[in-house]
């Protein structure tokens, strides 16, 4: 029982990063932009928040956890929004190919994260492994009282605030996309930018806004990993392929943020299942780690085979929109 509880807890905490990434990517893709730079943006967001907190804690003798939290949150969102801005300028204004720009952005972002993660202590004057315990404690703070309830408290109330925020954000995004005028406009652009343009919607502005705010949301996934999961430190390539899993999750969720919530916890569970399955050898553990990717491939094949209309990606996904080329 307690083993199952730990498994569920870990599955959820593995899933949060992926959920942030997937929510950001859904908003982006709804505008017709397939941003393959999300993995890089998540690295950029994570390291920027960590660096901001690090320099803040270094500059004052008695760092305040709450101020550290605000600074790192703000810097993370700015840095990842900057990643989204690079992507937007190149694909929307300069009309470059989206896949190519996305991959270049991922190369850049992962390098950015690993470079500063690996060099920051050297650049700051050789303090060894960087660690921002004070700020991280604010991210790791549990809900007082509720988290003390046995079992339910552990399962539902034992996480930092970003976990709850990720779920609330996904629900809000679902509401925004389905129930508001702006959400409708955004979806219209993703389906047919030409028609949306003719209807008087400013296509470029929507695409910019969606891509940049999507990137900022995805960056929070990197911050969550650095602050709550790792406890305020950096591990080169530690974030791994979670960014790509976030892009895969968008497909699994059929472009619906609410589906992404349970999907992310499923992915989180598959990610760590090998630790909990009894009787695995070292070799079969490695095979078991394939599961999230194999599941994604199977979902991809099944959804393309069934070919249901409402389960398809936005119709103009991956294509740049040039008004004069219609």
């Amino acid at each position: 029982m307690s083993l199952l509880l730990t498994f569920l807890q870990n599955a959820i905490s593995q899933g949060v990063s992926i959920l942030f990434g997937a929510s950001g990517e859904i908003v982006t893709e709804k505008s017709g932009n397939l941003n393959l730079g999300i993995p890089g943006i998540m690295y950029m967001g994570g390291i920027s928040g960590l660096m901001a907190a690090f320099f803040y804690e270094k500059s004052t003798g008695h760092p305040n956890a709450f101020i550290g939290l605000l600074i790192s949150l703000l810097v993370t969102m700015l840095a990842s929004a900057f990643g989204g801005l690079i992507y937007s300028v190149l694909t929307i204004t300069l009309r470059a190919n989206q896949n190519v720009v996305g991959l270049a952005l991922t190369t850049f972002g992962v390098g950015f994260g690993n470079f500063f993660g690996g060099s920051i202590s050297k650049l700051a004057g050789g303090v060894g492994q960087i660690s921002v315990k004070t700020t991280a404690s604010a991210y790791r703070a549990k809900i007082p009282g509720l988290s003390g309830i046995p079992v339910i408290g552990d399962l539902l109330f034992s996480y930092g605030f970003l976990t709850y925020f990720s779920v609330i954000l996904a629900v809000l995004l679902a509401f925004f996309l389905k129930k508001t005028r702006k959400g409708l406009n955004l979806r219209a652009i993703g389906e047919d930018p030409g028609a949306a343009d003719a209807a008087g919607i400013n296509v470029s502005r929507y695409k910019y806004t969606a891509t940049i705010s999507g990137a900022a949301i995805a960056g929070l996934g990197g911050l969550y990993f650095v602050m709550e999961y790792l406890g305020g430190t950096w591990n080169n390539n530690g974030f791994g392929d979670r960014g790509w899993l976030a892009i895969a999750l968008v497909i699994l969720a059929l472009w619906k943020p609410v589906n992404a919530i349970w999907g992310s916890f499923l992915f989180g569970g598959l990610y760590i299942l090998y630790i909990y399955l009894p009787g695995l050898t070292r070799a079969t553990q490695e095979l078991c780690k394939m599961l999230p990717y194999v599941v994604t491939i199977i979902v991809l094949i099944l959804s393309s085979k069934r070919n249901k209309h409402e389960n398809q990606p936005p119709a103009s996904l991956g294509e740049a929109y040039f008004r004069e080329e219609r």
């Binding site: 009309r95 470059a96 950015f112 050297k122 085979k305």
Partner: protein
């Protein structure tokens, strides 16, 4: 066009160029390269407090300063080139194969397996031949899977090939469990370090000449295949329009599957060149992101083999140089990825100014 006049905020006018002279296009690219180099220099200077000329001398020294470094730069250029060449047929067909990483890893794993299990069973030339065939087959299999599903169910190939990269990585870690040397290190170590079985032999006294020969032959072969064969033409037609291809009696499914087998096969061969011809070991970082970089190389070069060689050489030159600078200052070698990223942003962005003309709109109203 009617909306254009109503849009008051537009002060820049962009029009598509009908044509652009070769000289002008290269001048634009040249400006982009210079701008990117200046930005890179600013960043390096900000991090190291060294003067920019010193930094660029350091990059040149790091890339080609010693004979050994020069040949490493050549070797890495060749690897990037052959992956870009391998991806070309798939991209010509508008098939987004972003699974080169996985195809390379499968080819590399097959190569390592041959070196380990058949190292002493046959003469070296035969072993190398077997390695080339088996690694190509492994890469081919990894290209075949998404192609079949694309052809029959129209499954999204971008994400399918991407996911296969990670499946391939797990296959590598699975194999490392059995091959690890020394035990407990979780790495394979140098394979056949004493006997050098399955290694590329020196030609003209140089270690990497065979790499260059193989890559250049493959580049030429793919160029001829794409330009002067019926199959190459079929690929181009399918890429332009699948409906046209069907109308012309081309079996689209067959073309998709065949082309991805070729593409995957060459990427698998690239894996054998990395393992047999350079690293002599296998790990999850054997491909090291080059499968992604090569996509950008192939796309930016518009599949022109000479351009691909130039772009690969430029990127590798800057990477090797910045790795040297980073280690000189005790910084992390991932600096090269940042540099690569910046160069790519500029090179990608400048294509716009080749395709479009930008004019400042004065206060005149008689546009159109």
């Amino acid at each position: 066009m009617s909306k254009e006049a109503a849009n008051k905020e537009v002060f820049l006018r962009m029009t598509k160029r009908d044509s652009i002279s070769k000289r002008k296009a290269w001048a634009i690219r040249g400006i982009a390269v210079v701008l990117s180099l200046i930005l890179c220099a600013l960043i390096i200077v900000a991090l190291t407090n060294d003067n920019p000329f010193q930094v660029y001398l350091g990059i040149i020294d790091g890339a080609v300063g010693r004979k050994r470094r020069f040949w490493v730069t050549v070797r890495e250029t060749m690897v990037l080139l052959i992956i870009a060449v391998g991806l070309t047929p798939a991209f010509k067909m508008r098939f987004w194969n972003i699974g080169a990483e996985g195809q390379i890893l499968m080819g590399g794993t097959a190569t390592a397996a041959m070196m380990i299990y058949f190292g002493n069973a046959m003469p070296n030339w035969l072993l190398l031949l077997v390695i080339f065939i088996v690694s190509s087959l492994a890469g081919m299999l990894w290209g075949l899977l998404p192609a079949v599903f694309k052809a029959y169910y129209n499954t999204n190939e971008t994400l399918f090939t991407l996911m296969l990269n990670y499946v391939a990585m797990q296959i590598v870690t699975f194999c490392i469990v059995f091959w690890e040397n020394p035990a407990g290190s979780n790495t394979v170590g140098i394979i056949n370090g004493a006997t050098r079985k399955g290694w590329f032999r020196n030609i003209f006294g140089q270690q990497y000449v065979l790499n260059v020969i193989i890559v250049l032959i493959m580049t030429l072969a793919v160029y001829l295949y794409m330009k002067h064969s019926k199959q190459g033409y079929e690929i181009a037609v399918v890429g332009e329009s699948q409906n046209t291809a069907k109308y012309a009696g081309i079996n689209v499914k067959k073309v998709i599957i065949r082309t991805m087998m070729i593409s995957g096969g060459i990427c698998g061969l690239a894996g054998s060149i990395i393992v047999s011809g350079a690293s002599h070991t296998i790990s999850t970082s054997t491909a090291g992101g080059r499968g992604f970089t090569a996509i950008i190389v192939a796309w930016m070069s518009k599949f022109n083999p000479v351009a691909m060689l130039l772009v690969s050489a430029f990127l590798v030159f800057m990477q090797q140089g910045s790795i040297q600078i980073a280690s000189q200052y005790g910084l992390n070698e991932n600096a090269s990825d940042i540099i690569t990223g910046i160069l790519l942003f500029f090179l990608i962005g400048c294509e716009f100014f080749i395709n479009y003309k930008v004019e400042f709109r004065k206060s005149k109203k008689e546009v159109q």
